[in-house]
């Protein structure tokens, strides 16, 4: 009967994708290698899991006291067996560690040499954004200030400068396979390239207080032309010196 538990466990994994309970859609460039690593490890550990469980239940069934009458023998271990089942998993893990290094380096070490596209500052409980503006540099009077509404152009390298104003947060883009803790006092570069347009979530992945659950933002990936037009529109709104005419009062607020 206990066998039903691991069987159900494996069963849910097999069936889940058909119920849409699987990894979120991936629209990033490096996401492919991240997901294939995930699947590789899943299959590998899954196979080991299945074999181990089958062995476990076979032994439990074969040596069940109602069937097998020979009393248990107490041994001091089998040296050869222990060496094998230590070396084999260690080698597998070492293999995994080396196998994933390239992907890790792509995401965390090989930074594209470019000026930041946007500065993202985590704050309880929102993501404050600062675009460099026409002069291309942050910290000048033509910067564009926004909250939670991140836009980036598609098919281009994006570099984000990640900071936090108060406590630890974690900048998590599920659909781009990006997650980076924002640490107070540190300015951390985050980069990716988005391959498809669309609107996706920004989520906070480090418990930061009572509002952590609702620290949600939105990333909009759009064509370069749309992105530039959007920046212009938002900048014009930020620099308003006259009240807008009535009909367009709230448009593009």
């Amino acid at each position: 009967m206990f066998l039903a538990v691991p069987v159900l466990g494996v069963g849910t994994f097999a069936v889940a994708p058909f119920f849409n309970i699987w990894l979120p859609a991936d629209v990033s460039e490096h996401g492919r290698s991240v997901d294939s690593l995930f699947m590789f490890i899943l299959w590998l550990t899954g196979a080991v899991f299945v074999i181990t469980e089958l062995l476990l239940f076979w032994f439990m069934w074969k040596y069940d006291s109602t069937k097998s009458k020979t009393p248990a023998k107490y041994v001091h271990g089998n040296h050869a067996l222990e060496v094998v089942w230590t070396i084999l998993p260690a080698a597998t893990l070492l293999f995994l560690a080396i196998y994933q290094m390239n992907t890790w380096a792509d995401i965390k070490m090989r930074r594209p040499v470019m000026a930041p596209t946007v500065e993202v500052v985590g704050r309880q409980f929102e993501w404050r954004l600062r675009y460099p503006g026409r002069d291309g540099s942050l910290g000048t009077p033509d910067d564009l200030f926004l909250v939670n509404d991140l836009h980036v152009p598609v098919d281009e390298d994006i570099l984000i400068q990640l900071k936090t104003m108060d406590v630890l947060h974690s900048f998590f883009l599920p659909n781009l396979r990006i997650k980076q803790d924002a640490v107070p006092g540190m300015k951390i570069p985050v980069w990716f390239k988005a391959l498809e347009t669309g609107e996706f979530d920004i989520v906070c992945a480090e418990l930061c207080g009572w509002g952590h659950y609702k620290m949600k933002g939105r990333i909009t990936i759009e064509s370069r032309a749309d992105f530039d037009a959007w920046l212009e529109k938002k900048y014009a709104l930020q620099e308003q010196t006259a009240p807008p005419p009535e009909e367009t009062e709230t448009a593009g607020l």
């Binding site: 942050l138 910290g139 200030f145 006092g185 300015k187 009572w210 509002g211 949600k216 308003q240 010196t241």
Partner: protein, 380 residues
């Protein structure tokens, strides 16, 4: 102070107020609107009640989902998270709002409220609800007005008890002209008239040299007419003074003083020679002191002085558009000690001050404003 007035009422007086409010405004689950308020009941229904989805999957209970935990279920800013915030969330009940496009003592327009909901308030815990749909933001702004009108009506009703003459026998008149005409309309009419009191803004002339304008603004900033440095400090860091309270905290400070004085007097009052009426009054006073002390020591948020804005940060609560800064300087900030420059400073001069203020975070050409890698341990 709202709580102080509340504690002065007897049980039956409280019940009268509650009955009237129930009839005029309904409950948090089932709001009611009188036609005189001009509020849209459909929008209120979207915000009222528990968080749930209706038959077409539309989210309801918006106020409870997004606002009540700070602003409180009645808009009294005593929600469970309010005590952790600095600055405190807005109490809608006095009907005073800080960041708007109308003259100082007038109500904000509907669009003003929508703007605050959309952008949030930078530098405070008021979040930006830009990710909500326009319909939802619109409905929430309507609900804020509803709670504010209700709060002001409640205060009027409570105060009315102290203005009743003896033959009313402590019972409020139940006539339409009293309840709606004298209690409700003074609040709700101001909301309907808000649009008419929008601040006139002169267009900026095309050929204005920014450098010149900033220099003029600086002179005005330090000058006598505007005298910004008195509070904002000679360095613009907001260290001019920090002794004043805003209109939501001031009553608490004053009532606290009054309470302490009253407690002292009660202690030394000799009750032996009092007439029955005097004794009854004395007991009622003691009762009030006890109840109010419990409120002030318990639920009530501890008063804080209001700190003038540090203009070097470039964080502007009411909005960072030049237009928003114009509104702030022209009309001051309702409920806060920031005075109105209207009248003392001409509109063109106000624009000069706006330009100067906007240059303050960047005044030292990269030293203070630019993204310099000094404090952060950076990996660039």
């Amino acid at each position: 102070m709202i709580e102080a007035t509340k504690q002065r009422l007897t049980q039956s007086q409280e019940k009268q107020v509650a009955t009237v409010l129930l009839a005029m405004f309904g409950t948090p689950d089932n709001p009611v609107v009188l036609a005189e308020t001009g509020l849209d009941l459909e929008k209120l229904r979207l915000c009222a009640g528990p968080v749930r989805s209706d038959i077409v999957g539309r989210k309801n209970g918006l106020y409870r989902e997004h606002c009540a935990h700070c602003h409180g279920i009645t808009g009294d800013a005593m929600g469970p998270t309010a005590a952790f915030l600095n600055p405190y969330p807005r109490d809608y009940r006095p009907g005073v709002f800080k960041f708007k496009s109308t003259e100082r003592v007038e109500k904000p327009t509907h669009v003003d409220l929508v703007r605050i909901l959309h952008n949030g308030i930078a530098g405070t815990s008021m979040p930006s609800f830009a990710l909500l749909s326009e319909t939802k933001i619109d409905a929430l702004a309507e609900y804020v007005k509803y709670l504010s009108i209700r709060g002001e009506t409640e205060l009027s009703l409570m105060r009315a008890f102290f203005e009743l003459d003896d033959d009313a026998k402590g019972i409020l008149p139940e006539t339409r002209e009293f309840l709606i005409g004298e209690m409700l309309l003074p609040a709700s009419e101001k909301w309907l008239a808000a649009k008419e009191s929008q601040i006139p803004v002169p267009l900026i002339s095309e050929g204005v040299d920014l450098v010149e304008s900033i220099a003029k603004g600086k002179a005005l900033f330090y000058g006598d007419k505007a005298n910004c440095v008195k509070c904002h400090g000679v360095t613009g860091l907001g260290d001019g003074q920090a002794n004043d309270y805003d209109d939501w905290n001031k009553p608490i400070v004053e009532i606290d003083k009054e309470l302490r004085g009253t407690r002292e007097r009660i202690k030394v009052t000799a009750t032996a020679s009092m007439s029955p009426e005097e004794l009854a009054e004395h007991v009622a006073l003691q009762d009030w002191v006890t109840k109010l002390s419990q409120v002030l020591d318990g639920d009530s948020l501890k008063p804080r002085t209001v700190v003038p804005r540090n203009l070097r940060h470039g964080v502007y609560r009411g909005g960072r558009r030049p237009l928003d800064l114009y509104y702030r300087i022209y009309a001051g900030i309702n409920g806060a000690p920031m005075p109105a420059a209207k009248g003392a400073v001409s509109p063109e001069d106000i624009w000069h001050i706006v330009n100067y203020v906007r240059s303050l975070p960047y005044e030292f050409d990269g030293e203070l404003g630019a993204d310099r890698p000094l404090i952060a341990r950076e990996r660039f």
